[in-house]
Amino acid sequence: MSAAEVARHLIKTCGSLGEFQSYMFGSSLFGIGSDYDILIVGPSGEPLSRLKAEIRIAAEELPLDVLYMLPSEAEKTGFVANEGCVTLSQMADCDQGEPVANDQGD
């Protein structure tokens, strides 16, 4: 499964993703590595529990390594820009094999 297909799969199957900012980062972007690195930025509590349950089902046959951050943590660490994270929606729009432009402004 390509990184774009993984992004499409997650967007399609995880209804709560719309309440969060979601990204892919790391070697997954280049189709290498043993799993797909996903960053989720958003609130904790019930919405996060709901999303985690959805992701667990979506990842039943998919190796995902998911990092969850509060918006304040994402801002303070500068993780999105530093790691060259790309939004899942941007990934989903990519054709297989097409290079992905990092979205550092999101």
């Binding site: 590595g33 043993s34 190796p63 390594d65 660490t77």
Partner: protein, 213 residues
């Protein structure tokens, strides 16, 4: 071939010295490495590995050299670790397997995220006894008699969710230890620990806590 074996096969194929990777049954790979004995690695999709599951894989593959939990998030119970180590079967992630294949030390390999920290605790003078409850949770009895339950967090920047998830998955800990030597727990992570009732620390702080007794 199961999904995790497909992923693992593709991943192991690129490791230096590996000359062939062939499926064996539904859940294992026979790996040939230059100048090393062949390796039989069982690749599991389990979210959690206990001793019974490890023994089942061993029954199914009696010559298993390594048990791989393909999910990064796979939790290894202490009994499973003891079973595997007593039977000279390596265990851990696909990254663990890949790192030991060229060295030929597959059967003695342990989860590479935690092996160094586990050793560090065992070599600490102020520690009298250690019970490894999970891959990343140890109950440590200090020479002073005090007991500490220590949970390890590998991430470079542990977040509030890392600390809360540690509690959700393993129960209360006294210490959330950020074992990444270059790690920097976020302020939110430290606050989350405070709210839950544990300290979020790095090695130097933990060493001082244990020395103090």
């Amino acid at each position: 071939m199961t999904w995790q074996v497909k992923f693992a096969r593709s991943n192991v194929t690129g490791v230096a010295g590996v000359t062939s990777v062939e499926p064996e049954g539904n859940e294992a790979l026979r790996i040939t490495v230059q100048d090393q004995p062949d390796v039989l690695a069982v690749i599991s999709p389990a979210h959690r590995m206990n001793a019974a599951a490890a023994a089942r894989y061993h029954d199914q593959y009696p010559t298993m050299d390594f048990l791989c939990g393909y999910r990064t998030s796979c939790i290894w119970e202490g009994d499973a670790i003891r079973y595997l180590e007593e039977n000279k079967i390596g265990w851990g992630t696909i990254g663990t397997l890949n790192s030991v294949l060229p060295k030929g030390s597959v059967n003695s390999a342990a989860h590479k995220d935690f092996v160094f920290s586990d050793r560090l605790l065992r070599q600490t003078r102020s520690v009298a006894n250690i019970v490894r409850e999970f891959d990343q949770v140890h109950t440590v009895t200090l020479v002073s008699g005090r007991t500490l339950r220590i949970g390890m967090i590998m991430q470079y920047e542990p977040t509030a969710d890392s600390v809360r998830s540690l509690w959700d998955q393993f129960g209360a800990v006294d210490i959330a230890w950020n074992i990444n030597p270059n790690g920097r727990p976020t302020q939110d992570a430290i606050e989350a620990g405070r709210e839950l009732g544990c300290e979020v620390v790095q090695w130097d702080d933990l060493k001082a806590i244990m020395k103090k007794g």
